[in-house]
Amino acid sequence: MTYRSSRRSFLTAGVVLPLTGATLWQETADRQAASSASAPQFSYRVLGKTGLKVTTLGFGCMITSDAGVIERAADLGINYFDTARGYQGGNNERMVGAALKRKRASLVLSSKSGARDKQRALADLDTSLRELGTDHLDVWYLHGKNSPDEVSDELVEAQQIAKQQGKIRFAGVSTHDPKVIVPAMARKGVMDVVLVTYNFSMDPGVAAAIEQGNKARLGIVAMKVMAGGFRERPGRGDSGTREKLKRAGAMLAALKWVLKDRNVHTTIPSMTDMDQLDENLRAMAEPYGAAEEKLLARQLDFITPLYCRMCGECTGMCARGLPVADILRHLTYTEGYGQFALGREEFLKLGPAVAAVRCADCERCTVQCPFGVQVTARLRRAQELFA
């Protein structure tokens, strides 16, 4: 048997295929796809002031290793794709570019630079454009900024220069701290889009910040929509519960939870295979209901020993005067948002008396969290990291 070329090989060879109804759904796999995801229903929202109409399910390409999954997502109708200069040592952009080349004009493509100065950021942008095989990005994010100071004037200037040169259409910032960054960007008025960590495990203040961003006409893209609680953590011995929740559909439920918030315009879950893509597509068509609520409650129970809701119920309970919720919030900067420096800085602002306390010196902890957070263990972790 000899073979017809895959889309991928056409792309590599630079041949453009005509996209007609007849060329769609003609192979064996298409029958499979058609049965599992026949005529997926899409929902669209407008990405804030950009005016771009995006599918509420986008595609986070970060850990995808087969270009075919990305290509199929684009063929099915997903129109928002996200990558970054640093993903897979720079290889991710190249793969994404090859996978989307045929449909590039009809897609919204975003990438990011983690550079801290104008010159490097602009150099990163040129590399991104070259690797992605495109002459412009629709959204170019400043990567991982968690305090307004990090969105420096020179980085904003780099984005403006890139806009003037036609290399990007819109400017964005990605953050793990939406409560701080979204209101700050709404006030500052220099960004078009914010890419935020947002999921069911976060406190209501995040939703309020996102609402504020939407009201200021910022485009809102949600990442880490699965709450990281589905992540494999070698040696934790929790894989049984995690697998059970996954099989029961907790990931889809987590995605639906985010989509039910109309202030979010699109989402970018990571996808590695066709099955995951088909499953995630359902989030656009199916409602969020009691079953999903139940699943996410179980998932929350699973991650609860680590997860502080910042409710403040424990205020004044520590016999040695520790502001428990504050310290746990600073630990979240580090563990949840990847900001060690910020976490430590905020912790040290609590003063030397707080920094000197060691939970290990207490015989018994007087703090009782009604939600079951393992307060002593978490505080010891914070003291180990910051004090």
């Binding site: 048997m1 017809r4 070329s5 796999a29 087969d66 999954v69 199929r72 490097r120 070698p234 990847g338």
Partner: protein, 273 residues
């Protein structure tokens, strides 16, 4: 018991940290701040979204050290992975396949401001800033670090399974070819397509995976390769031929028009143990 645990922890930390904690491997360089260790739980603090790319390979921990020499700075990251295959897998995923592969440990590369290699269960990445050209310095550090790390210097045996002519071989940690039943395996890139091999625990489980794939690609035709095989055309996978040999699943995908998949698959099957 606690004392024994503490001793073991110190022992493990000492043998691991040895590779990263000394910036003085090249003259004039010295540590710039303390070294830090990240585990799977807090790798996000350091790598942000990029952490996921490490975790899916089987990451244990990363030792991070920044070194300085005048205005230049060098970051040394030594990651301990579950096993040498995972270390090589991470190296292959992050290296630039357009650059030559160097004989450093199981494999390495040195670029103008970045170097990386894998040895034993360690993956090492060095990044120099802010200049454009640091290859001589990176060479000195990689040679010294490679000597200090213990473990295998020969690439994973799986690399030898693939016939000559490939441009790169990567370990795909999840969903080979974007197909969930093909959980984890190696993929080699050729100019006319991709070869892959997935190792299942038993011949029975391999047969079950093949049966599931056969059901999925309903129009597939039987082929004569190893224990059982079939082939088909797919919009996204191109020409595909998949076979089972004992507990191995292998084959070709993304084959270009006119390429004879079955004969290629037979050659690949003959090279598997």
């Amino acid at each position: 018991m606690k004392a024994v645990k503490t001793f073991l922890l110190i022992l493990v930390a000492a043998s691991f940290a040895g590779a990263a904690d000394d910036c003085r491997l090249a003259s004039g360089w010295k540590p710039d701040g303390p070294s830090r260790t990240f585990t799977a739980d807090d790798l996000y603090e350091y790598l942000d979204g990029g952490a996921e790319g490490y975790l899916i390979f089987g990451f244990v921990r990363l030792e991070h050290q920044t070194c300085a020499k005048g205005a230049d700075s060098l970051v040394i990251d030594v990651s301990e992975m579950n096993d040498p295959d995972a270390a090589y897998g991470l190296f292959a995923a992050r290296r630039d396949p357009r650059q030559p592969l160097r004989r450093i440990g199981m494999g390495g590369e040195i670029l103008p401001n970045r170097a990386s290699f894998a040895k034993g269960k360690y993956y090492v990445e060095l990044t120099a800033m802010p200049g454009e050209e640091y290859r001589p310095t990176l060479r000195v550090f990689t040679v010294a670090l490679e000597k200090r790390l213990t473990g295998r210097s020969t690439p994973p045996g799986a690399l030898a399974w693939f016939p000559r002519g490939h441009t790169s071989v990567r370990l795909i940690p999840r969903s080979v070819l974007g197909l969930r039943p093909l959980k984890r395996g190696y993929v080699a890139e050729y100019s006319n397509g991709q070869a892959f091999v997935v190792t299942e625990a038993t011949a029975q489980s391999a047969a079950a995976v093949l049966a599931a794939l056969r059901r999925r690609f309903a129009g597939a035709k039987e082929a004569k390769v190893a224990d059982e095989a079939f082939e088909f055309n797919d919009r996204y996978l191109g020409g595909v031929c998949i076979f089972r040999k004992g507990h191995y699943l292998g084959g070709y995908a993304h084959l270009h028009k006119g390429t004879e998949g079955v004969s290629l698959a037979r050659t690949l099957a003959s090279r598997l143990p």
